[in-house]
């Protein structure tokens, strides 16, 4: 089974802090994704990556950056956290063959910015 592991289930940070959310997958998937999930808004794509050192902006990249130095690890960075970034963050991965592969999700990180 595919395992996508997010480093923290719950995280509390302060406004202005630099925040790192880590995600690791163990299935040698080429593609990795970061979403945020908010009530009434569903899942929104922040950034994704099709290969090591590659990144693409999703629908809501403002205030975020990402890093993919190794194939199995995809980090989401909040450069200067703000209260409107309080949310559930979900990481996902998928294999690179074909555009219609399902994504496999981690359990999420519930981030609170105070």
């Amino acid at each position: 089974d595919v395992k996508v592991t997010q480093s923290s289930r719950y995280l509390v940070k302060r406004t202005g802090e630099k925040v790192f959310l880590e995600c690791v997958q163990d299935m040698d998937h080429e593609n990795m994704f970061w979403y945020r999930q908010d009530p009434g808004l569903g899942l929104r794509l922040i950034y994704f990556s099709y290969d090591v050192k590659m990144k693409e902006k999703g629908d809501i990249p403002e205030g975020y950056s990402v890093s993919r130095e190794k194939k199995e690890r995809f980090s989401l960075i909040l450069e200067s956290a703000s209260t409107n970034q309080t949310s559930m963050y979900l990481c996902a991965s998928s294999p690179g063959q074909g555009w219609n592969q399902p994504q496999h999700f981690g359990d999420g990180t519930r981030l609170s910015i105070l």
Binding site: G42, W99, N100, F105, D107
Partner: protein, 116 residues
């Protein structure tokens, strides 16, 4: 443009009765469609997927979905609800981005409640 609409934000059923969660899609290409389930404070788990093979797709936990091109629908059903089915369900369409790349478009979700 590709899109997906889940017609009900909340569905409530009694244990042992059938479940129907409705989903309509819009796609310029022959779509790939998925249903995911999310239990409270957990990530999304793949229930089933349609990728242009059989139009009736069987998934895990007794769920199935039927792809109807003429109606642009992909409704999720289960003959008999169980208490453990209470969760949020997402209908998802895969979007072709060019080459071998694609992204997913998520519906807003349907919360399923199961009464004893």
């Amino acid at each position: 443009a590709q899109s997906v609409t889940q017609l009900d934000s909340h569905v409530s059923v009694s244990e042992g009765t059938p479940v129907l969660l409705r989903c309509n899609y819009s796609s310029s290409y022959s779509p790939s469609l998925f249903w995911y389930v999310q239990h409270p404070n957990k990530g999304l788990q793949l229930l089933l997927k349609y990728t242009s093979a059989a139009t009736l797709v069987k998934g895990i936990n007794g769920f199935e979905a039927e792809f109807k091109k003429s109606e642009t629908s992909f409704h999720l059903t289960k003959p008999s609800a169980h208490m453990s089915d209470a969760a949020e369900y997402f209908c998802v369409v895969s979007v072709f981005e060019g080459g071998s790349q694609g992204n997913l478009i998520f519906g807003k979700g349907t919360k399923l409640s199961v009464k004893p």
